[in-house]
Amino acid sequence: MICKQNPAKVHLTQIVGDKMQKVDLCDDCAKKKGVNDSAGFSLADLLLGLGASNEIAQSSAGEEIRCPNCGFTQADFKKAGRLGCSQCYLAFAEGLEGLLKTMHKGTKHVGKVPTALRQSRDLNERLKHLQKKLEKAVTAEDFEQAASLRDEIKTAKDQIDHLAPKASS
């Protein structure tokens, strides 16, 4: 199926997360990909090498997307299997989503976050929460509470300004 020449003799199924993936290979392709090799092999590698880059290319029906930061194109991704820069993830977001789904446990990062970023995120959330409370207090004409909320908001804003500039994104 992969070389689309010889009949498939090796049929491979791998379960990744809760998804089942199947690949059919002829003897030659199987050997080339090391499917029979005792050193082991993984379907994800195989899919990445062959299917993944196609998926990206197809997602944008003909017209070529180019990363505005580094000039990387889909054709480059197809060739290299790697992206050009961190901005490419934005430029090719649409095509990448399906790929990430087949490759990983989820499509949202849940692991480690740089501390400065985490602090700024927490502060921004606190700021939003305080602003909502302030609105309510004003509507309820509870001016005493509104005044103290205003102070708290000011402190939170100062803290955000104090964080490293890189934390702003």
Binding site: Q14, D37, A39, R82, S86, Y89, M103, K112, T115
Partner: protein, 369 residues
Amino acid sequence: MTIHEFLSLPAETTRRAGPHDRIVMSSRVRLARNLRGLAFPGWAKKPERIKALEIIRPAVESLPQLNGAFSETMDNLGPLDKQILVERHLISCEHMAKSAGSGLVLNREESLCVMINEEDHLRMQALRPGLQLRQAWLAIDQVDSELERKLDYAFNSELGYLTACPTNLGTGIRVSAMLHLPGLVLAEQINQIIASVNKLGLAVRGLYGEGTEALGNVFQVSNQMTLGEIETDIVERLNKVLLQIIEHEENARGMLLEKKPKFVFNQTGRAYGILANAHSITSKETMNLLSMMRLGVDLGEFPGADRALIDELFIITQPGHLQKKFTEKLPAEERDLIRADMLRERLRQVGRPTPKPPPNSGAALDKRN
């Protein structure tokens, strides 16, 4: 100081002990990180790669964990130096091919190694002997947390750490262990094990990682998925699977000894016979036979040898290490002669194997170590 002067002797490194080191040769956790705004090393032009290196290298060198480290750019290392680093599992085959614009920082204990401008701007790894994945994770997590204060990482709150290859996206973590599994290979259970490990979304690879052969019955098991799961869960999951593989390996050894002791002693005895008496031997044959001898040592067949000696031979008979003493590159046939000379010499102190009658149960075998 050259890398040769810096690296500890294999005789020392192989004496570093760790839990389950009878089967788990080493544990490793690596993190992939990139700088915001700069093209990934594979796409960046040379000046941009050099710029990244100049930002990253001093930041890495300034870490307390890397005090007194060996730090060098790849163009200042010779092909033999690089080969030796690969044979020690300190750099990847991919990094070996790099030159100007790439670098390496390695700590004194050889337990922390940072590759600069490999596939990603930063590939930092913590290494530990035996099964110590948690310790390796804690060590590298700390290095990363200190580096993030000095470097502007490419990070996105949805996708996590942004990496050159989407397979590393998110946590950028690769947790792996190197296992010696002669029992499962001899019992012909290894393919079954590999298949079930693959089903769990984990990869099984050969001695030098991606796309390499399982020489000497050494396998690398690692996580594949990096996005949608937290680091400690990935570490714990792999740890659990590794403990199961260890159990299967011990069971396979116990079963072989009980049901086919002659088959096992034939393998270990022949391995010793060839290694101790050959006058020409390839690196591949050496590794496969040393694997059998290592099994023999584990089974108590070689009172005059210990695992560290076999592990040392495993390293020093590889092409790079073998040629270290020689100024120029030797042809393969000549290496085979020198390798055989070295093995005969080193194995002179090791007496012939004395197979012990199979123990009453596999349990006695498990308790050793």
